[in-house]
């Protein structure tokens, strides 16, 4: 089905089920329990999970397949966001034209930067992309303020023209992003006993787009094109002497991943019509690298997992404060409680960056294949006969 092999189809179906049921899966704890802190099933975060998933999937097409480590992909995400917001300002609040434009502009921009940067390889390539992205950020923050609105970020306002829509709603508010009238922020709640689940239009739109993006990435991975990209990573000399020109292949991969980034940026703006320059900073580019590696570069599902994990830390761990910690360990005797809180507060709340850094070092050191490799190892522990099979299939499709 869908022109996929059985294994890939299974993966796609699993991912589809996970994303469609995410509002349930991510809200496992009753709303009023102490563990509700760890619930992630609210629309904004779920949207971020899948949007950054798209970003990472795209980045993986470049990095995972060709091995070219770009430190500038955030620039394409930012450009995508700016394009989408401009579309909301000028044309209408419908998300479709905005998404189309953000993909096109990000594609064009990444073609330009890729064309220049791909003249070099290895760390030189990384530094070139880094330099371009930092330039984009610095300019967007200052000189280009008329286009980007600098520090405060590009926003929609009541007096934007919106030639195909309206500047303001009847009651004087800024109109809301929608798809043919269906508002992105529309949502419905399902309350079952102590649990509460939210289903939002925005999330399901993002999830559908992500599934399409994921499906296309499977096709690319299994296509001759994907094989060529892996061949480039493996041995450029042989590539050349086999009559193949690596440049257009890598450029195409760069542009495709740039378009994925633009799509993600556009979606971010659709869910929340604001585009800030920080989206283009090199640390933001670093973030997608972390996501991809954390999940497992070159694997299909890895980047999505990595994106989810990092966004979960950023949004859930950073919100645990000392008071919360104390409330958890209330039952313990005071010295123990204080000691435990003292240790943990390094890692939560303001310390979530530290947790991320530590996990990241551990993963790179001990699990070069990322979470996917971790999962495989655990799987192997549980099932030795299956492990043999895994090994075989890993050898067949080494890029998995």
């Amino acid at each position: 089905m869908f022109g996929l092999e059985k294994k890939d189809l299974n993966l796609l179906i699993i991912v589809a089920l996970l994303t469609m049921l995410a509002p349930f899966i991510l809200n496992p704890f009753p709303t009023d329990s102490a563990l509700a802190q760890f619930n992630a099933g609210y629309p904004d975060l779920m949207q971020r999970f899948v949007i950054y998933g798209i970003f990472a999937i795209g980045f993986n097409i470049l990095f995972g397949l060709t091995g070219y480590l770009s430190f500038g992909h955030a620039a394409f995400l930012g450009v995508g966001s700016y394009s989408a917001v401009w579309m909301f300002k000028l044309l209408s609040m419908n998300v479709l034209p905005a998404l189309v434009l953000s993909v096109i502009i990000a594609g064009a921009f990444s073609w330009l930067i890729g064309f220049i940067s791909l003249r070099r390889t290895g760390i030189y390539f990384s530094i070139l992309t880094l330099a371009f992205a930092q330039m984009s950020f610095a300019l967007a923050y200052s000189v280009l303020t008329p286009i980007t609105n600098g520090e405060t970020g590009l926003q929609i306002t009541l007096d934007d023209p919106r030639i195909l829509g309206m500047s303001a709603t009847a009651d004087g508010s800024i109109p809301v992003t929608n798809i043919f009238g269906l508002e992105m922020r529309a949502a419905t709640d399902l309350v079952i006993g102590p649990w509460s689940f939210t289903f939002s239009v925005g999330y399901y739109l993002c999830a559908l787009v992500m599934l399409v993006a994921f499906y296309l990435s499977i096709r690319i991975f299994r296509s001759p094109f994907g094989m060529m990209l892996r061949a480039i990573k493996s041995n450029q000399t042989r590539m050349n002497y086999t009559g193949l020109n690596p440049k257009p292949y890598t450029l195409a991969a760069f542009v495709i991943s740039g378009m994925y980034a633009g799509l993600a940026g556009g979606l971010l703006a659709c869910m929340d019509p604001l585009a800030g320059a920080e989206r283009m900073q090199w640390t933001a580019s670093g973030e997608v690298v972390l996501m991809t590696i954390l999940g497992g570069a070159g694997t299909l599902i890895g980047p999505v997992l990595g994106a989810g994990m990092i966004k979960y830390f950023e949004n859930i761990f950073s919100k645990i404060n000392e008071a919360t910690l104390h409330s958890w360990f209330d039952v313990l005797p005071d010295p123990m409680e204080n000691g435990l809180v003292w240790v943990l507060e390094h890692f939560v709340g303001a310390g979530w960056h530290l947790t991320l850094g530590v996990i990241f070092m551990l993963v790179v050191t001990f699990l070069p294949g990322g979470l996917v490799e971790g999962g495989q190892r655990i799987g192997r522990l549980f099932n030795r006969t299956k492990a043999a099979k895994d090994d075989e299939s890993a050898a067949t499709k080494p890029a998995e």
Binding site: Y42, P43, G150, E151, I174, E183, A186, T198, E278, W352
Partner: protein
């Protein structure tokens, strides 16, 4: 506990779902209209404190958070009551807000508009926060204010000094207690004239982004109006750490005043560099060379160390003020944490109380009722003298402090001395002032 509610058509919020004893799960997917976003239905109400916990303003964020915790304590009847005792409005009685116990959630803005919005979103959607407050930069304030407008909750801005927050980016659901660049300039200009005369040549170094520009524009306009000449204005990159190459040309420019339109780390570095180049000891045009830092904060002054001595600037509030409100606040804060509060802490504390008070007076959590209660609200006893929340742009008008780095500090907190308290009337501007033009408050949005 209340849950998120994002649709304008609305869905039923149900606290009744908490049926631990119910054998069969009760399922609600009803869609009758809720009154407004995150209407508190239980016996608690949740506020969202969105402050920078990572990034360069983390220390300010931490101080803001302390102030918020203190405010919550006071609202719930704990501690010594702080400013509740001095506040001119007496409706708050230490029983929470409208009888509901105040709870709070915290988040990290990272001083990035994206992260700040994500954090605020999670407070609104996940934790059911009815009001968001905090922040330590204008970019973040404007971004979160926009979000709160869309989501239908109230935003009580923290530290934000750009004219835009209540100028071209003002929003009906957003309120600013902090002063702004225009007010800094209006307060500073007469003092500068007194101290340094009306025949001065000023050289501006300006952080190259929105806040820097508006402040430079405001200061240049105010000082030029009293006879100063602006010789030059050089924009410096946000990421700049060593300002020597920007300071050096000042030496030969013929200017006799250097205005540093910088904040945070930029300010500490540019001031340190300026002092290194001996500008403080220089004589130009027969006058002593002077440095002005229009926006001061004590936390940053501490970062600048010795270099801050004798430098003039403006600030929203300082702990050494001797009015009853300030004294009460400093006492509660100092007793709890062991050091005096910063201006960021003050503004955040006051904003929380003002919100609680507005809800109580309106007898409703509905954002539109709260907006109505805050608009045109006049109060006193909160540390800045009689204050007005102007209805037209949701900006507070109150006295502004002109301060100077203290020459002989008696403690590590005693860094600034108040030179003058500029009365509110002097810093008030018409709502349609050109520096604040281009925005539209819109109408209040109660969400659902």
């Amino acid at each position: 506990m209340s849950k998120n509610n994002l649709t304008r058509r609305g869905v039923l919020k149900s606290g009744a779902g908490i049926g631990a004893g119910v054998a069969l799960p009760t399922i609600f997917t009803a869609s009758s209209a809720g009154a407004f976003t995150n209407e508190p239905t239980g016996n608690t109400v949740t506020l969202g404190f969105n402050v920078p916990q990572s990034g360069p303003y983390a220390d300010e964020g931490a101080d803001e958070l302390r102030a918020y915790e203190l405010a919550v304590e006071h609202l719930n009847g704990g501690g010594d009551g702080g400013m509740l005792n001095t506040f001119s409005s007496k409706v708050l009685d230490g029983t929470g807000i409208l009888g509901k116990k105040v709870e709070y959630v915290t988040g990290d803005t990272q001083t990035k508009s994206d992260a700040a919005r994500a954090s605020a979103q999670s407070m609104i959607q996940k934790d059911g926060a009815i009001m968001i407050t905090g922040g330590s930069s204008s970019g973040v304030a404007v971004a979160v204010q926009g979000l709160c407008q869309e989501a239908g909750v109230i935003f009580m801005a923290g530290l934000t000094h750009s004219n835009d927050t209540t100028g071209k980016d003002k929003k009906a659901n957003g309120f600013r207690h902090f002063f702004n660049a225009y007010m800094s300039a209006a307060a500073l200009a007469p003092v500068l004239k007194n101290l340094y005369g009306d025949d001065r040549k000023a050289y501006h170094l300006t952080a190259d982004y929105t806040w820097g520009w508006t402040q430079q524009e405001s200061i240049a306009a105010a000082t030029e109006a009293m006879g100063w000449e602006t010789v030059n204005n050089v924009l410096t990159p946000l990421a700049q750490t060593d300002f020597s190459s920007y300071i050096a040309p000042v030496l030969d420019s013929g200017a006799d005043v250097l205005v540093l339109n910088h904040y945070g780390g930029n300010m500490v570095n540019s001031l340190t560099n300026a002092v290194q180049f001996g500008l403080r000891n220089k004589q130009v045009n027969g006058k002593n060379f002077e440095i002005v830092v229009p926006l001061f904060s004590r936390l940053m002054a501490r970062g600048a160390g010795e270099n801050i001595k004798g430098i003039v600037g403006s600030t929203n509030w300082h702990w050494s003020l001797q009015d009853e409100g300030s004294k009460a606040f400093v006492k509660s804060f100092g007793t709890k944490y062991g050091f005096p509060p910063s201006q960021a802490a003050h503004t955040c504390y006051v904003q929380t109380l003002l919100y609680a008070d507005a809800v109580t007076r309106a007898k409703s959590f509905n954002p539109c009722d709260v907006v109505a209660a805050l608009e045109g609200f006049e109060f006193d006893g909160m540390g800045n003298g009689p204050t007005l929340y102007r209805a037209e742009d949701h900006q507070c008008f109150k006295d502004v402090l002109v301060v100077k780095g203290k020459e002989n500090p008696t403690s590590e907190f005693d860094l600034l001395e108040v030179v003058e308290v500029t009365p509110a009337a002097q810093v008030t501007y018409p709502a349609d002032h050109p520096m604040f033009a281009g925005g539209n408050l819109g109408t209040c949005n109660p969400g659902a």
